[in-house]
């Protein structure tokens, strides 16, 4: 059995770091981990994703369609884009704040974050959905880069990370970030109930 997590967003939002934290937490518990990351040209404002797989029988770093237990989306349209990977009864945690591509501003093809979140709410394959007002959240935390920790904390607190607990994530974070950022990151991880 494996736990499969898709993290997604737009280049520069910190998906790789969040994915590494979960992986570190899993390895600290002696679990086998594989992941696949987007690195390269797409990082410059393109769609990016991490596939994270935890379990002894994992052979490929890639997740297949209908296999993900959880999607953590840093951008609502990117969350929708990754839905084919979600298994029936999977969980979704997403930011509601859209990041418009440059092309949208040019040709006026804007979309609303609520178009995406309303759609997510209408789906019955999602067993548990958390939509986070990340614009407010990062203001409350006081750091625009804290979004990945806010969403990751929402996942771990709600027990969406398989055998990895909220405390495991906090410990992994402490080992990874500079001491002066620990307190801020704890606040971010605790932000969503």
């Amino acid at each position: 059995m494996s736990t499969n997590i898709v993290l997604c967003g737009v280049g520069g939002q910190g998906t790789v770091l969040a994915s590494k934290l979960v992986a570190a937490a899993a390895m600290n518990k002696g679990m086998k981990v594989m992941s696949a990351e987007t690195i390269g040209m797409a990082q410059k404002g393109g769609s990016v994703f991490s596939h994270l797989r935890i379990g002894d029988d994992v052979v490929s770093p890639l997740i297949g369609e209908g296999e993900a237990d959880l999607i953590i989306g840093f951008e609502p349209s990117e969350t929708v884009r990754m839905l084919p990977f979600l298994k029936k009864g999977g969980a979704v945690i997403t930011s509601d704040r859209p990041v418009m591509p440059v092309t949208a501003a040019l040709v006026g093809s804007d979309y609303k974050g609520s178009d995406m979140t309303d759609y997510l709410r209408s789906l019955d394959i999602i067993s548990s959905l958390k939509v986070v007002d990340t614009e407010k959240a990062v203001k409350d935390i006081g750091n625009p880069k804290a979004m990945n920790m806010i969403l990751l904390g929402a996942a771990s607190k709600n027990g969406f990370l398989g055998n990895i607990t909220h405390q495991d994530i906090i410990e992994a974070m402490k080992a990874k970030v500079k001491p002066e950022f620990v307190e801020m990151n704890i606040r971010a991880l605790e932000y969503v109930d």
Binding site: K20, A24, G45, S60, E65, E67, P101, A105
Partner: protein
């Protein structure tokens, strides 16, 4: 054995170090870059590491060291192999004394490359043995074996992971001890080290004989293996496609047998025969070229087997792109005649935005392109692009990249267009690292042949696209030494270009005037736009729109396409989390509505 969470490229680097690496040379290129960077980070003091000026230089530096008996590695992406192919083709005829692993990362998709070329095919062409790992753990273990194999047979060997291996992370068991190799040194022997037709003729025959023996050796290499199944049907596969095949087979009751090929050249023929002899049909699941498929067809012909071989050539496997989990699943299910559970696709899903990659907010290249665009408005122009971040200058609304072919090509393409269209103002844009890698010869060509063109050097003082590696113009090496900077302006002067302007592109009006002036002159002119990459030299201020002054003309949006400028609730605002305060937008705003404020990052 310790266990570490490593990226595939890190695993390759750590494996090479464990194998007793003495020297590594390479040129950055996605998805290969982290291999050399990881060696630089974890090396012992006596391991030499360099970013060479290009892949050909890297190959030759490594060849010299291998002549001395050193354990060497050369790293590059697949298109880099084209640049390095001249020395490598000859080196195979000459041979080496130490061990040499040529680490070439292939990029099915392609995700970050110009071509979908297959290094396995290049291995066959160059007669060089090739290793093809299927996971980060196997990459770690296999590269150690590749070094030993290279030393045993006195030949360079290819090690060719693909992007999904390079950029996968995995728990990897790493060795506690590292092997130490003490190079014997160079021993003069011109009959061995100087390539002449006589040597080539003799060694060619020896190489062909050797490769037959290696084919047998590879048939008993433990990483080439047959996994017996329950059917008269088989699947032959490799690399990430192997991993994805295993994932699909997990849930099947009656499994086909699997032939895993880890050394596509020389092909393990005897093992393949053992696999094929009792099979009715075999499906070859590969990315890029049908290498295994062709080899199996050849084995069937040679041994008179009636096994039907399917794959790319029978359209059972797609001809291009990656084999993702579900591609492999569809291929296997179709091959076995199984029905898939069709997941009901939602038809009311909202339309999703397209996100092409763009130049970063604050990127000085945007200002350079915009200055040239403004200066040349209304004139017949050619803007030849090149390989690097600035290829993204092609995106709307800048639309400043008319051609892009390969590293350093733009400067020569501009000359070629100018020969046929003498009334076109031809520009070639090239970055600083690409200039050193392979555009200097193009500049010499322009001067020598009396071309009429403007060479634009986009000097941001780094190799930005691949993650900010140093290069000859930066004055730093991968050994951490400070060295003399190679001055681009002096290089151009030395070549014989006398019309050279060096200018800051972020001073827009000056930049536009300079471009107009230079473009009006005859002959070869050069403009060096000098401004550092916004990702490494971040200023302390961001731009801000004064909504009272803003007349909502959206000139800033329509003209420069900066990702930091967004529309929010119908008004133009600047996303302070993205803005790097370059000030280009404030210089083009007709209402003078964009100012800047200091922030703490």
């Amino acid at each position: 054995m310790a266990q570490e969470f490593l990226m595939g490229n890190e695993a390759i680097a750590k494996g090479a170090i464990a194998a007793g690496l003495n020297l590594v040379a390479g040129y950055p290129g996605t998805p290969s870059t982290e291999v050399l960077e990881t060696v630089a980070k974890f090396r012992d003091d006596d391991v030499y590491v360099e970013w060479s000026v290009n892949e050909k230089a890297a190959m030759e530096v490594a060849a010299g060291a291998a002549y001395c008996g050193a354990n060497v590695m050369v790293t590059m992406k697949q298109v880099g192999l084209n640049v390095a192919s001249d020395p490598l083709m000859s080196l195979e005829y000459v041979g080496i004394k130490g061990a040499m692993v040529v680490m070439v990362a292939d990029d099915p998709g392609p995700i970050s490359s110009q071509t979908e070329q297959d290094t396995r095919t290049f291995a066959m062409f160059s007669k060089i043995p090739c290793f093809d790992p299927s996971s980060p753990q196997e990459a770690y273990d296999m590269i150690i074996e590749a070094f030993a194999f290279s030393r045993k047979h006195k030949t360079p060997v290819f090690f060719r992971p693909t992007t999904r291996i390079c950029h996968a992370y995995s728990s990897v068991k790493v060795a506690d001890e590292i092997f130490v190799n003490k190079p014997e040194g160079f021993i003069k022997d011109s009959k061995r080290w100087v390539i002449f037709p006589k040597l080539s003729n003799r060694n060619h025959a020896l190489i062909e004989e050797r490769n037959r023996k290696i084919s047998d050796e590879f048939s008993s290499y433990e990483r080439n293996k047959i996994i017996d199944g329950d059917l008269k049907l088989g699947i032959a596969t490799h690399g990430i496609s192997y991993a994805n095949t295993v994932e699909t087979l997990k849930s099947l009751k009656n499994k086909p047998s699997v032939l895993k090929i880890s050394t596509p050249f020389p092909f393990p023929e005897k093992l393949a025969y053992e696999f094929l002899k009792d099979k009715k049909e075999v499906l070859c699941i590969e990315e890029l070229d049908p290498v295994i498929e062709r080899a199996l067809i050849s084995v069937c012909g040679k041994y008179g087997l009636k096994t039907v071989i399917r794959g790319k050539m029978t359209d059972d496997v797609k001809l291009s792109g990656e084999n993702l989990r579900d591609d492999v699943k569809h291929q296997i299910y179709a091959f076995l005649g199984l029905k898939e559970d069709k997941s009901s696709k939602a038809d009311n899903a909202p339309e999703l935005p397209v996100r092409p990659p763009v130049l970063c907010a604050g990127c000085p290249h945007r200002a350079s392109f915009y200055a040239v665009k403004k200066a040349m408005k209304g004139q017949k122009t050619l803007f030849a692009g090149d390989i690097g971040c600035y290829t993204l200058g092609n995106a709307m609304p800048l639309d400043m990249c008319d051609t892009c072919l390969c590293m350093g090509a733009g400067v020569n393409i501009a000359q070629g267009v100018g020969r046929i269209e003498p009334n076109t103002k031809c520009f070639a844009f090239v970055g600083d690292s690409t200039f050193f890698a392979s555009a200097i010869t193009g500049a010499v060509n322009a001067v020598y042949n009396g071309a009429d063109m403007t060479l634009v050097i986009l000097d941001n003082s780094t190799t930005a696209m691949t993650g900010h590696q140093p290069h000859p113009g930066t004055g730093k090496t991968m050994m951490g030494e400070i060295t003399a900077k190679v001055d681009i302006k002096k290089v151009l002067e030395g070549i014989g270009i006398s019309d050279i302007a060096v200018i800051d592109p972020l001073k827009l009006d000056d930049a536009v005037e300079t471009v107009k002036e230079m473009a009006s002159r005859k002959g070869v002119k050069a403009i060096i736009f000098s401004s550092p990459c916004a990702m490494i030299f971040r200023p302390q201020n961001v731009c801000k729109v004064d909504t009272d002054k803003c007349v909502d003309c959206r000139m800033c949006v329509k003209e420069i396409g900066c990702p930091g400028i967004v529309i929010k609730d119908g008004r133009v605002v600047i996303d302070s989390s993205l803005c790097n305060g370059c000030g280009l937008c404030s210089q083009i705003c007709p209402a003078d509505a964009i100012g800047s404020e200091v922030i703490t990052r």
